[in-house]
């Protein structure tokens, strides 16, 4: 394994690991706050139990997110010193703001988790809201930095140096809005549906259980709207990619030759040597329509990009197909949920729908990983599009396969522990008797907290 490949793989593993926890750090606080709000409004103790349990799960995941995020901020320098030398002054801005968002998030999470008995109710739910807000903000800032790597603006590149820096314009780069919107929705869709799926599993065997019904309701409250909006937001992203990153779009859709009235390709396996795609389904005009909202628009192909500047077409294409496939399924399930709810039927009593939700559980996270592969692998061979090549940015340190192997083992180990811990600590039915029936809250009980 070459040092460059080891560095890229280490970065990929670290990010793929971190993003799971980051996404949970964005989504879970909202669920927690919603549960606490329902509890304060109804005094139904089921909601309190939910808020507390979710908080407990969030604490575990947040800690792993914080440490794996720290690893990333060091790795930016440990693996890509030349990149940081060049880009630090221009994208340091969103990272600095992100730093403050982390601070706020960590402070108020501490208060939220350990403060149930110590601060007044309003302050407690306020702390939860701040955690949810700063979680979203930290995600937005870091994605802005990544959007700049894809569509860099706000500088002039003269002989390998960036001059005339304008960090504000860099933050307002052309991909920033699309990527942050898509990522934020992704976080809510993924966590909302994953939580719903867990409780749907329990409801399958215990359909009247009040605890799981309320949990499902809150999970869907967050997951459904986001999953419905995600294809719309993805379309906005795709049009942006078509305009600013034509090589990436060409790889996503395996467009080898520039053409008008380009069809949309579904599935298929690109054969790079013969420059064609096998086994795909073509929808006439589809790509021109989606990318430019005009059936006759010209779509740039890989023939316009020098061969050595192509990203890895097969990986990008397959990852994109996976994301869109999973996203379409999630949106359909969300639509089904929405229709059921609008017709005032109980989602928890529809066994077919419960099955569909359970299947959607892991999909959001898989789609997120796939989406990032599209974005990152699709940018290759550039670390800053058109400005700096990944190969020029890598550290001169030899033997990078050693840290790569160690980090991979560490994360495999941690991932296993976290999964087991969530399973054994959080994802269990509470044993309160009356909740297993169709539970209606009795006379209001004051629960301290």
């Amino acid at each position: 394994m070459s040092d460059l490949l080891a560095a890229r793989s280490q970065m990929a593993i670290s990010l793929a690991f971190h993003i799971i926890f980051a996404v949970v750090g964005i989504g879970m606080p909202l669920l927690m706050v919603l549960a606490e709000w329902r509890w304060r409004a109804t005094r139904d103790p089921v909601y309190l139990e939910l808020a507390r349990r979710w908080a407990k799960g969030t604490a575990i995941l947040f800690a792993v997110g914080a440490v794996s995020g720290t690893v990333l901020s060091f790795e930016l320098g440990l693996l890509w010193p030349r990149f940081m030398e060049m880009a630090g002054p221009i994208i340091g801005m969103p990272f600095s703001l992100e730093g403050f968002a982390f601070f706020t998030e960590a402070i108020f999470l501490g208060i939220y988790l350990y403060g149930w008995e110590k601060i007044p109710p309003k302050a407690h739910i306020g702390a939860g809201i701040l955690v949810a807000l700063s979680g979203v903000l930290s995600g937005i800032f870091v994605v802005i930095a990544n959007a700049w790597m894809n569509t860099p603006t706000g500088f002039r590149a003269i002989s390998g140096q960036l001059t005339e820096l304008d960090p504000i314009r860099a933050m307002l780069n052309p991909a920033a809005f699309q990527q942050t919107l898509h990522m934020t929705l992704a976080a809510y869709a993924a966590t909302g549906l994953a939580v719903s799926a867990v409780h749907a599993v329990f409801l399958f065997g215990d359909p009247m259980n009040a605890f799981h019904r309320r949990a499902l309701q809150i999970g869907l409250m967050v997951g459904t709207p986001a999953a419905l909006l995600q294809p719309v937001s993805g379309d906005i992203s795709a049009r942006n990619v078509a305009e600013y990153q034509p090589a990436k779009l060409a790889a996503m859709e395996s467009v080898f030759e520039t053409r008008r009235e380009a069809p949309l390709l579904i599935g298929g396996l690109p054969d790079i040597d013969r420059r064609e795609v096998r086994f795909g389904i073509e929808i006439p005009y589809g790509l021109s329509l989606l990318a430019y909202h005009d059936p006759h628009a010209e779509v740039k192909g890989l023939d316009q990009v020098p061969r050595e500047d192509w990203p890895h077409v097969t990986i990008v294409h397959l990852a994109f197909q996976i994301m869109v496939g999973l996203g379409s399924y999630m949106a359909l399930v969300a639509l089904w949920v929405a229709i059921t709810a609008l017709r005032r039927r109980e989602v928890s009593q529809n066994r077919a729908l419960l099955k569909a939700i359970i299947l959607a559980g892991p999909m959001g996270f898989l789609a997120i990983e796939a989406g990032w592969v599209v974005t990152e692998v699709g940018r290759q061979p550039w670390i800053i599009s058109g400005v700096l090549r990944t190969a020029e940015a890598v550290t001169p340190m030899p033997g990078l396969v050693v840290p790569f192997t160690l980090i991979t083992l560490l994360y495999l180990f941690l991932g296993t522990i976290v999964a087991w811990m969530l399973y054994s600590q959080i994802i269990r039915s509470p044993v309160t008797r009356d909740w297993s029936r169709s539970y209606t809250p009795g006379p209001k009980v004051e629960v301290k907290g």
Partner: protein, 335 residues
């Protein structure tokens, strides 16, 4: 304002953030050391006290380090990239320490099923708490000794990636850091402890660690004479640094005397002041270099616009941060 002043201000903020990390997260690491060394009839109560003291605050305390890293790569990118290349090995090891410390701590708090598993997490947590500050000290030592130079093309592995940090001076600074953090933690814990006997446990520990601090300080000084010419000059030769060193000594003595007399709050103040003086003394000794032997604060600084915007962001951030931090500590540390 000229660019020099802005760069100086930002270097100052980085140092303040490092200071914050040392005083807050440093004590959390020190707590881990005492968890490892918990002993006597109140062993379990000692561990419980440490866990309760760290629980609500360690993540917030940890973010100071992230602030240091982010400000460094934004405002002094050349320093960041050179440190990341030359100190790749100890920094990577330190990351392992950070990951294992944080996750083992949280796993231990939530894994209530098995005593065996809990003990294993406790062990991981405390060993990682020992390793991380040691490596932090080693990295600081490498920087202070002026060995993290520009990466010369074609240098061999040992010369380029090992010898910058594998020196007696850097290693003794690593040791010194561990002992200092343990000292600080024991003093903080005397205040957090309920009950006289528990307070006494940590008083004894603080006194022992205080004694060790002096030994480690002397060791660091002696090795500095050999490995760190710049430090030697800055520590002993410069008029700028001498008052800070005198203050450091005075605070160290005050902390020990206050401990002896059981004046807990005075001891805590003096110990925190002592550690801060060590940091600022180091900075004064290597001023105007940010990364000796050749990168001064001015030369390493990012373009002016970046510095200005970062300062603006800092003002904005501080307006949110400080009231929040005050609230956090008021809720959990009001004793």
């Amino acid at each position: 304002m000229s660019q020099t002043i802005e760069a100086l201000l930002l270097a100052g903020v980085i140092l303040i953030a490092l200071n914050g990390y040392v005083l807050l997260a440093g004590a959390d690491f020190g707590g881990g050391v005492w968890d490892l060394l918990a002993s006597g009839p109140r062993r379990d109560r000692q561990r419980e006290l440490i866990a309760n003291a760290i629980g609500p605050v360690w993540e917030a305390n940890h973010v100071w380090l992230i602030l240091v890293v982010v400000l460094l790569f934004t405002c002094f990118p050349l320093v960041f990239s050179r440190v990341a290349v030359g100190l790749h090995i100890p920094l990577t090891l330190m990351l392992f320490g950070i990951v294992l410390r944080g996750s083992a701590f949280i796993f231990r708090s939530y894994d209530t099923h098995h005593d065996v598993a809990q003990r294993r997490w406790g062990r991981t947590f405390s060993i990682a708490s020992l390793l991380t500050p040691f490596l932090l000290g080693v990295c600081v030592g490498a920087i202070a000794s002026g060995r993290v130079g520009p990466p010369a093309a074609g240098t061999d592995f040992i010369a380029g990636y090992v010898s910058p940090w594998l020196t007696p001076f850097a290693l003794s600074l690593g040791l010194f850091t561990v002992v200092l953090f343990a000292f600080l933690a024991a003093i903080y814990l005397t205040i957090e402890a309920d009950g006289e006997s528990l307070k006494e446990d940590f008083r004894t520990r603080a006194l022992m660690a205080g004694g060790l601090c002096f030994v480690a300080a002397v060791l660091t000084l002696v090795t500095a004479l050999r490995d760190a010419p710049l430090m030697q000059e800055g520590l002993l030769g410069s008029t700028r640094a001498i008052p800070i060193h005198l203050l450091t000594g005075a605070f160290a003595v005050t902390a020990l005397v206050a401990l002896w007399k059981r004046r807990w709050h005075l001891a805590r103040f003096a110990a925190a002041a002592q550690l801060s003086c060590i940091i600022w003394g180091w900075a004064a000794a290597q001023y105007p270099y940010l990364l000796p032997p050749d990168l001064t604060i001015k030369e390493a600084a990012a373009p002016r616009i970046t510095l200005q915007l970062t300062l603006a962001a800092l003002v904005l951030g501080a307006a949110v941060l400080f009231p929040s931090l005050r609230y956090l500590f008021r809720v959990f540390k009001s004793k």
